[in-house]
């Protein structure tokens, strides 16, 4: 039996109403949502993959800060009450009257992408995206002591695999310094400065110092993790 247009519209309306009711009845898990949001941010590393041609360089220069500026404006509007906090799922109570973690996170990623060499930026971003929610989950289930040990090991692993083509001494040293910085950055809490920022920037700054010392002393420094693609030759 062929339905009339009116019947089809009615069906669609009913379906939309049902879906809305279904969504409204959900007790969505903010805890896991926050973790997934963290892990998702690892995708931003795709930034390094496009070819280094002029117009893409321009995009790489302007798109990330545009996103961060948008997040900052949104957050200012939220704090001023222009945009309701109701639209920000997963915000914690202590973020109600403070800048949200996601802004700190975005600013940290932007600084790393722009100002740090790739072998420093990539593991630091992974620490914030993967190690941070893992440490949060460990803290949630076990004790603080477990957070330090397992967090250090995970971060150590990240730094080690992306510094593997440096000299072995530098690889071990960088992994220890980076993992230590990441764990301290995650565990030291300040009201005004979020751990999502500290877990990225603290190890990055420590490793940048090491990078300068290494290059001054003539050590073998690691090469880039992601090699930009090549622009295809269009006929």
């Amino acid at each position: 039996m062929v339905k009339t247009v009116k019947e089809q519209i009615e069906d669609t309306k009913k379906m939309l109403k049902d879906t809305k009711e279904k969504i409204n009845s959900l007790d969505f898990d903010a805890h896991w949502y926050r973790r997934v949001f963290h892990a998702f941010a690892a995708s931003f590393l795709v930034y390094y993959l496009p070819p280094d041609v002029d117009w893409i360089k321009l995009l790489k220069l302007w798109v990330p800060p545009a996103i961060v500026i948008f997040a900052i404006i949104l957050e200012v509007l939220r704090l001023k009450g222009v945009v309701s906090s109701d639209h920000f799922f997963g915000l914690r109570m202590y973020e109600k009257n403070r800048i949200g973690s996601y802004v700190f996170f975005a600013v940290g990623v932007l600084i790393l992408l722009w100002a740090f060499p790739q072998p420093i930026a990539v593991p630091c971003i992974l620490c914030a995206c993967i190690a941070d929610p893992l440490m949060g989950e460990i803290r949630h289930r076990f004790s603080e002591k477990h957070v330090y040990i397992l967090g250090f090991l995970v971060c150590f692993f990240f730094f080690m695999i992306f510094w593997y083509n440096a000299g072995w001494f530098l690889m071990i040293l960088a992994s220890i310094i980076g993992a230590y910085g990441a764990v301290v950055g995650e565990t030291k809490k300040f009201w005004w400065l979020d751990d999502d920022f500290m877990i990225q920037i603290l190890p990055a700054v420590l490793l940048l110092i090491l990078w300068f010392i290494g290059s001054y002393l003539g050590w073998i420094l690691p090469t880039d993790v992601i090699i930009p693609g090549v622009m295809p030759n269009w006929p």
Partner: protein, 90 residues
């Protein structure tokens, strides 16, 4: 649960929050996998097939992104499906 783990959703705004944020779920789940696969594909085409060194880190990074996301996506989707089926039964 201490205060650090309390969410703003406890202020009776859950429904509005869900409507806004549920829309992002497909992006949050699918995009990292796409990026991970692109990195692995890049290693395969430029590194493995052309037998060039220096692309191994792209393979590892791709795997880390995929596995790292899977670790959190599975419990997240489980909790979502659980809630959906629970409400459907009622």
């Amino acid at each position: 649960m201490n205060n650090n783990m309390d969410y703003l959703k406890k202020e009776n705004n859950t429904k509005k929050l869900i409507r806004t944020e549920l829309l992002y779920t497909p992006l949050l789940v699918i995009f990292p996998f796409v990026v991970g696969l692109i990195l692995i594909f890049d290693w395969y085409t430029r590194g493995f097939i052309e037998n060039r060194i220096g692309f191994e880190s792209e393979l590892i990074l791709g795997l880390i992104i995929i596995i790292g996301n899977l670790v959190f996506d599975i419990p997240f989707l489980k909790s979502l499906i659980k809630q959906l089926t629970k409400k459907n039964k009622k």
